[in-house]
């Protein structure tokens, strides 16, 4: 996703210097804004009482004691600490040094702690549920963003992540239901459903690749149209075929949660990360594989070469269009796998347009994550956390309208794209067809 304008201009040196300076001031400015937000909460919207953070559930083997804090004292302490961090970052930048990542992480955790304390005043926050739900909600986003990263690194913009997730959800549900009712083998049905979902996501990816690479159709157009097409197809078959035969065709079995023996017993981390379904464990593997693959293997080097400078890649003998085609297909399979989360991953029957924009949030995560699998995963986790925080807060009675929490990922992405948070630069040949002479 890159601008046509920029590509025809050789970036002049002064520009690059200017950007570096601006980048370094971004952190202090962002810090100051968040500190002011926290201060505003403390001054204008004080909330009495205490907040309890629950760190374990009844069923956990090792119990972690609850943390109870008085709201206002904690909030003021957080504001003070945030102000100190902001000042420290200002000093660092003034002495021409970078703001270290740990400071950003500490700042974010402090701010979240302050916000949660304030929002949960007079209630107890189930932290395990909050984090567990965040990870669950992030699963399709992470798969989708991995698909987006691979596609865009190879130079094909994938707006059709939504379509791939939806087709994966649909196919997974139908195939798993049909196999389950006809054979009665639940595990077999689930595996068949998962594979079918990957194949269907791959097919959508192949259509995208075929139109974008063989017929040179604008990739954004194909993506948009594919989204509409898949919504139409799945909704049509849902109304026409699935709804009348719901028992046989749309009652998918679900993946059980697997408790990983030792890791699952670690307090806090265990219940959040290691008592999940196999789709989540596959996701850990997928993130690691895509990261290692992209940056430490011959395959990844080729993918990135094709996406950054196809002509150079072609010169050294890489088949540009073939590489792009198969990587977009692979990306489709990954997104299709992510789609299973909506149906067989959660044991929910397929419904019309059930992905509800997850593919677009995944796209946002790709950009916010700067086309890097690990950062995109973190961005997806952040977005999952934002939407699950909204769920949790609406249960305990949120002082913030839920719509604003739901808006957060999109607003953050706009800021990220506009360059106010970090710098996001697409692979150079992203979205450009390669036409060989």
């Amino acid at each position: 996703m890159s601008k046509t304008v920029e590509h025809h201009r050789i970036a002049p040196q002064p520009d690059a210097l200017a950007t570096t300076v601006v980048t370094s001031w971004k952190a202090p400015i962002a810090f100051a804004i968040f500190t002011l937000i926290a201060l505003a909460l403390a001054v204008f919207a004080p909330r009495p009482g205490e907040t309890t953070f629950r760190w374990s559930r009844e069923s956990d083997a090792i119990q972690v004691p609850d943390l109870t804090v008085p709201v206002m004292q904690a909030l003021w302490a957080v504001v003070a600490l945030l102000a100190v961090s902001t000042l420290y970052s200002v000093l660092l930048v003034r002495s021409k040094r970078r703001v270290p990542l740990w400071l950003v992480v500490v700042f974010a955790i402090l701010f979240m702690f302050g916000f949660l304390t304030w929002a949960g005043a007079g209630a107890s926050l189930p932290m395990i549920g909050l984090l567990f739900g965040s990870l669950s909600l992030a699963v399709p986003l992470i798969y989708g963003s991995l698909a987006g990263v691979i596609g865009e690194r190879a130079g094909v913009v994938n707006i059709a992540i939504e379509a791939q997730l939806l087709s994966g959800a649909f196919t997974g549900a139908v195939v798993a239901s049909v196999v389950n009712t006809s054979t009665g083998q639940q595990w077999f049905a689930l595996i068949a459903g998962t594979i079918a979902a990957m194949v269907s996501g791959m097919l959508v990816g192949m259509v995208l690749a075929a139109f974008a690479i063989k017929y040179f159709v604008d990739q954004v157009i194909v993506g948009v149209v594919l989204n509409v097409l898949v919504v139409g197809l799945t909704s049509f078959f849902f109304s026409q075929v699935l709804a009348p035969n719901a028992a046989a065709m749309n009652t998918p079995p679900r993946f059980d949660r697997l408790h990983i023996p030792v890791l699952g017993d670690i307090p806090i981390i265990g219940p959040v990360f290691f008592q999940q379904t196999i789709i989540v464990y596959l996701m850990y593997a997928a993130v690691a594989l895509v990261y290692i693959g992209l940056f430490h293997t011959r395959w990844g080097l080729r993918v990135r070469a094709v996406g950054e400078h196809p002509q150079a890649a072609d010169t050294v003998g890489i088949k540009v269009n073939r590489t792009r085609f198969w990587n977009v297909a692979l990306a489709g399979a990954i997104a299709g796998l992510g789609g299973t989360f909506f149906t067989i991953g959660s044991g929910i029957a397929f419904n019309k347009e059930m992905t509800a924009g997850a593919g677009f949030i995944a796209l946002a995560a790709v950009i916010f994550g700067q086309w890097d699998p690990i950062k995109a995963t973190l961005a997806a986790l952040l977005f999952g956390f934002a939407s699950n925080l909204q769920n949790t807060l609406s249960v305990i009675g949120s002082p913030v309208p839920s719509e604003f929490m739901l808006m957060l990922p999109y607003v953050v992405t706009i800021f990220a794209v506009a360059g106010l948070v970090g710098k996001s630069r697409a692979p150079a040949a992203d979205g450009k067809p390669y036409i060989k002479s």
Binding site: Y215, L363, I435, S437
Partner: protein, 460 residues
């Protein structure tokens, strides 16, 4: 040799062989190889860039027409529609219960299956036609022609929105933010429409202008960010869709903003009668003044693009931003202005929804997917004003007929989405259509491929 042809570009679709379009689009007869070459350049040089050199003198209509038939774009458009309808027919036939029952004994009595297929597909498509154009089962002409007025009612926001997307295309931008712009425009127009008490006529105009400004400003955010920071408008508009949706949802459930007083539903009160668009053909038809506005908008966009200096700059930026900058055109300003106008047009779509079609108060679903349909309309109309107008009416017919088909034959309305998106996909890839129908591929012209190639490679 493939023949790159994005769905935007020059030749008018078969469903609108309009003289205006031909005049509008001089590139259809550009000297160096016609539409295909232009299209190749457009695809190669970036997303959403329309493809005509502005300095070519307009040739005669006959030349144009002959060239279009020769290069096959009109044929491709017809074939794309036919192909999409065939796929739709296959889907209807396969999911029809009687077809499934008779196919069990297909080899014993194949005739039954064919009859069942004929009945399901023929029934569905005749219901589609009768729901969209003329209902033969009504006694009077007035009752019979009602579906056509429904088609025009459905076409109204599609035309307005399609024009917005098309205009942005011509400046080389992709406005996917139709949904958000429509929602914001509908909210502003609706708020003025029910919250104030102004005399007849003035109220409507104030609400209309408010809505247009709302849509324009919402799109303007994307334009401004693109101009100032280089943020890609596709991403920003997609994100703004969701921001608008949640913002409007929140306002709809907050008393004192948009929620109807004394109600707990996220819905606005009904519009003030003074603000509602008047009916064009009397109260028994739904067709409202919005359709006239859509026609006016088409004329205005046509005028802007082909008769005004602003439109010249727009197209110059769309074809080659660097050349435009060198020529002294304020490229960034053009991005911003184009997004403003595009947003206002999508705003018109939103306003015609709340003041014309759904006047009893609206919810967050008021956009009814029109923001996305508008993209397919603009693509089918190849980004020309009159092409978009015709495409809007075609898709309006699909929509009106789709509802009739769902009611009469039980075929889900979503089939319309499938057919629409397939039409656009097929139009976007002429070689595919030619292969399917066994038409000869146009001979490879070395000049064209080299041109396309240099552009593609430069895109480093």
């Amino acid at each position: 040799m493939s023949d790159p042809q994005p769905p935007k570009g020059d030749a008018p679709g078969a469903n609108e062989p309009d003289a205006d379009v031909a005049i509008e689009e001089p590139a259809a007869a550009s000297p160096e190889g016609g539409t295909a070459a232009d299209d190749a350049r457009a695809t190669a040089s970036g997303p959403g860039q329309p493809a005509e050199p502005a300095d070519v003198p307009p040739p005669s209509k006959w030349q144009n027409m002959l060239r279009e038939i020769a290069t096959g774009n009109a044929i491709i458009s017809v074939l794309a529609v036919v192909l999409a309808l065939i796929v739709g027919a296959i889907m209807i036939a396969f999911t029809d219960e009687r077809v499934q029952q008779t196919s069990v004994y297909f080899f014993a009595r194949p005739g039954d299956t064919f009859v069942a297929i004929w009945e399901s597909v023929g029934g569905a498509y005749s219901a589609l036609f009768q729901g969209a154009v003329y209902n033969f089962r009504r006694d009077t002409f007035l009752a019979g022609i009602r579906p056509l007025t429904e088609t025009l009612t459905f076409a109204t926001p599609l035309i307005a929105g399609g024009l917005g997307v098309a205009l942005a295309f011509r400046v080389g931008m992709f406005n996917i933010g139709g949904r958000g712009q429509m929602l914001i425009a509908a909210s502003v127009a609706g708020w003025i429409g029910f919250g104030f008490d102004l005399p007849w006529g003035i109220h409507m105009i104030v609400a209309l202008i408010g809505g247009l400004v709302g849509g324009a400003l919402w799109a303007g955010i994307a334009g401004l960010l693109k101009a100032r920071t280089g943020a890609h408008e596709v991403i920003v508009t997609i994100m703004l869709n969701y921001v608008a949706f949640y913002l409007v949802s929140w306002m709809l459930r907050t008393e004192g903003l948009l929620q109807a007083p004394g109600s707990s539903n996220p819905k606005t009160p009904a519009m003030n009668p003074n603000a509602i668009f008047p009916d064009l053909l009397g109260p028994q038809f739904n067709l409202h003044f919005g359709f006239i506005l859509a026609i006016l908008a088409t004329i205005v966009v046509w005028w802007i693009l082909s008769r005004s200096s602003l439109g010249f700059k727009f197209r110059a930026v769309g074809i080659n931003p660097n050349a435009a900058r060198v020529a002294g055109i304020n490229v960034k300003g053009m991005y911003f202005y184009a997004m403003l106008i595009s947003g206002a047009l999508l705003g018109l779509a939103g306003v015609s929804q709340v003041l014309g079609t759904v006047t009893t108060g609206f919810t967050a679903g008021i956009d009814a997917g029109i923001g996305f349909d508008a993209i397919t309309v603009a693509l089918l109309g190849r980004s020309t004003p009159w092409g978009t107008f015709a495409a809007g009416i075609l898709f309006g017919a699909f929509k009106a007929g789709g509802f009739a088909m769902q009611a009469a034959e039980g075929v889900p309305i979503e089939i319309v989405l499938v057919v629409q998106s397939l039409i656009v996909l097929f139009i976007a890839a002429p070689p595919l259509v030619r292969t399917i129908f066994g038409l000869p591929q146009p001979g490879s012209r070395p000049k064209r491929s080299r041109k396309a190639d240099t552009k593609g490679v430069q895109a480093k």
